[in-house]
């Protein structure tokens, strides 16, 4: 049996027909993942005890004839910004290198209740800040599709393990593109759900008004299955939505007739190169499948990067104030006073990008600059949201590129933070509006680098988004 290309339905069938047990699949996956991890550095930690315990519980349920759940026996990897009780969770940071959470994130509990088996924790940019996974304190992740390229970020490890076949699905987090961009770079499906669709309880906070947990998978159907399991109201997150959770995987009917698709002209303004032509070809395919394709305008797009980096760094500067040497394992030994302890612990343990964002965020919130940057950016966020609201009066979904270019080489943008920020141009808009968006593979460049197509829908219209992505996937596969 090949284990690096399994899907959730294949695993369910394999368990039902007794071709393998959950314990056998878990053991084989752990073995395979441990053997292949040195090539990518995508896993920071394996969790064999928790995984085997969970797999055996699934096997017991199968033997008893009780329903083991929609993720029964499915090997899942979890980004290391999502808390796992008793399993070290570092957020890719030296400041949390020994942190062992005393509780589980709601998304983690829900996927285990559904029978999912957590194989390990995945590498990421420190506190999810980065677009290349080069900002991890535990070394960069390499792209399994092309080892001389970055996997994207910040959920680079979660994208890489799914692409490499060392997990079947994974959880990532997305604040400004951190699921969609690595999904695009690694050639897998990545989904940022509606803001509030998935509880953030147990997700280490980066920018609370923008943070999302979402799935990676090798097929749209698997991503839909995982999202359905982790979605829904959680009393422990007051921003989690009470809206009912549809059966996403059941709504995939391959029918695109009459779906109105908007092509935002601002996203194709400088569209040249292979990424643009692959995305344009994907749009042509969607048209041939019966979509009604029309050009639309999202006029505030040009200001989205500035808006996003003001707001996200402002929120981050406040959220990361908690890492002060008091509660979270690491304390600078060179401090006689409390304020020295704060300053030195943070100065010695945060990486360059995290420091940069804390400084930016503190600056834009400081006296005299608040109105010009923070409040202004909040107003621009309203305009960007209004752009989408107007667009969704005319179209059912919007399609666009995920990133202006495919996976780049390590070091290529590391010394130029502004260039790195600008590469998030097509993903921050959906994050700011809080709408569901995803990346689905749409081909490869002549260098064999994957490119993703971004699909964006209105709030809580994940089912529609999945239907379009699944129909597209079945044509190009």
């Amino acid at each position: 049996m090949r284990i690096d290309n399994l899907t959730i339905p294949e695993i369910q069938e394999g368990l039902r027909s007794r071709e393998f047990t959950a314990a056998e699949l878990t053991r084989a996956t752990l073995h395979f993942a441990e053997a292949h991890n040195p090539a990518t550095n995508a896993y920071l930690l394996f969790s064999p005890e928790r995984a085997m315990g969970q797999a055996e519980a699934v096997d017991r349920k199968l033997a008893e004839g009780t329903d083991p759940g929609p993720l029964a026996g499915v090997p899942v990897a979890v980004k290391d910004v999502i808390l796992t009780k008793g399993l070290r969770t570092t957020c890719g940071s030296k400041i949390l290198e020994r942190f062992v959470p005393p509780y589980d994130a709601t998304a983690v509990l829900r996927l285990e209740e559904a029978g999912g088996v957590i194989i390990g924790k995945t590498n990421c940019d420190e506190f999810a800040m980065g677009s290349s996974n080069e900002n991890s304190a535990f070394g960069p992740v390499r792209n399994p599709v092309a080892l001389d390229r970055v996997p994207g970020g910040s959920s680079g490890g979660s994208a890489a393990v799914v692409a490499q076949g060392t997990a079947v699905v994974s959880l990532g987090s997305d604040t400004g593109g951190s699921i969609r961009q690595p999904a695009s770079f690694c050639g897998v499906v990545g989904v940022t759900p509606t803001y509030g669709r998935v509880s953030r309880y147990g997700l280490a906070a980066f920018a609370s008004s923008l943070d999302h947990i979402g799935p990676f998978a090798r097929t749209v159907r698997d991503a839909a299955t995982l999202l359905e399991v982790i979605s829904g109201r959680d009393p422990l997150d007051s921003t989690s939505a009470a809206a009912p959770v549809p059966h996403y995987a059941d709504s995939l009917d391959k029918n695109l007739k009459g779906v109105r698709l908007g092509i935002p002209k601002e996203y194709f303004k400088d569209a040249t190169g292979e990424t643009a032509s692959l995305v344009l070809r994907a749009i042509e395919i969607l048209r041939e499948e019966g979509c009604d394709v029309r050009e639309i305008s999202l006029p505030s797009t040009d200001y989205a990067i500035d808006c996003y980096y003001v707001l996200s760094t402002a929120e981050a500067s406040s959220n990361l104030a908690r890492y002060d040497g008091v509660r979270y394992t690491v304390r600078s030994p060179h401090s006689d006073t409390l304020s020295d302890m704060f300053n030195n612990t943070r100065g010695e343990s945060f990486g360059a990008e995290v420091k940069r964002r804390i400084m930016l965020g503190t600056y834009v919130l400081s006296h005299g600059y608040y109105e010009a940057y923070y409040k202004k950016a909040q107003q621009v966020r309203s305009l960007i949201t209004q752009d989408f609201r107007r667009a969704f009066e005319q179209v059912d979904a919007i399609v666009a590129p995920v990133s202006p270019f495919p996976a780049f080489r390590p070091g290529e943008k590391l010394d130029d933070p502004l260039q790195m920020y600008l590469s998030d141009i097509y993903t921050v808009t959906g994050s700011l509006a809080g709408i569901p968006c995803m990346s689905v593979p749409c081909g490869r460049t002549t260098d064999n680098l994957p490119v993703g197509l971004q699909i964006l829908c209105n709030h809580f219209e994940e089912a529609r988004m999945f239907r379009i992505a699944d129909a597209f996937e079945s044509v190009v596969r």
Binding site: S209, T239, Y303, G325, N343, K355
Partner: protein, 99 residues
Amino acid sequence: MSLTEQDVRKVAVLANLHLSPEEILQMVRNLGEILAHMDRLGEIDTKDVEPMAQVLYEAPETATLREDVVRPPLGSEAALQNAPLSAPGYFKVPLVIER
């Protein structure tokens, strides 16, 4: 927006962040460049536009409130387990007030 070394030092104090002299110089360069780009926000007309702090969508008024029932807390032992220095029931820190 041009940023001086003094500006950077001031913000670092506000952020409780010790920076080395090299880091300060690098911040002057990087933050200055990024803020100059962010200054473009000034070009866009936002007269009468409400600032947006949270994603908003249609939902019943009380959707964000949980039932008002007592549930067991994490407990101080679990909350203290990751502290670099603690005693039963509290965190230990260096001297705050010197006599």
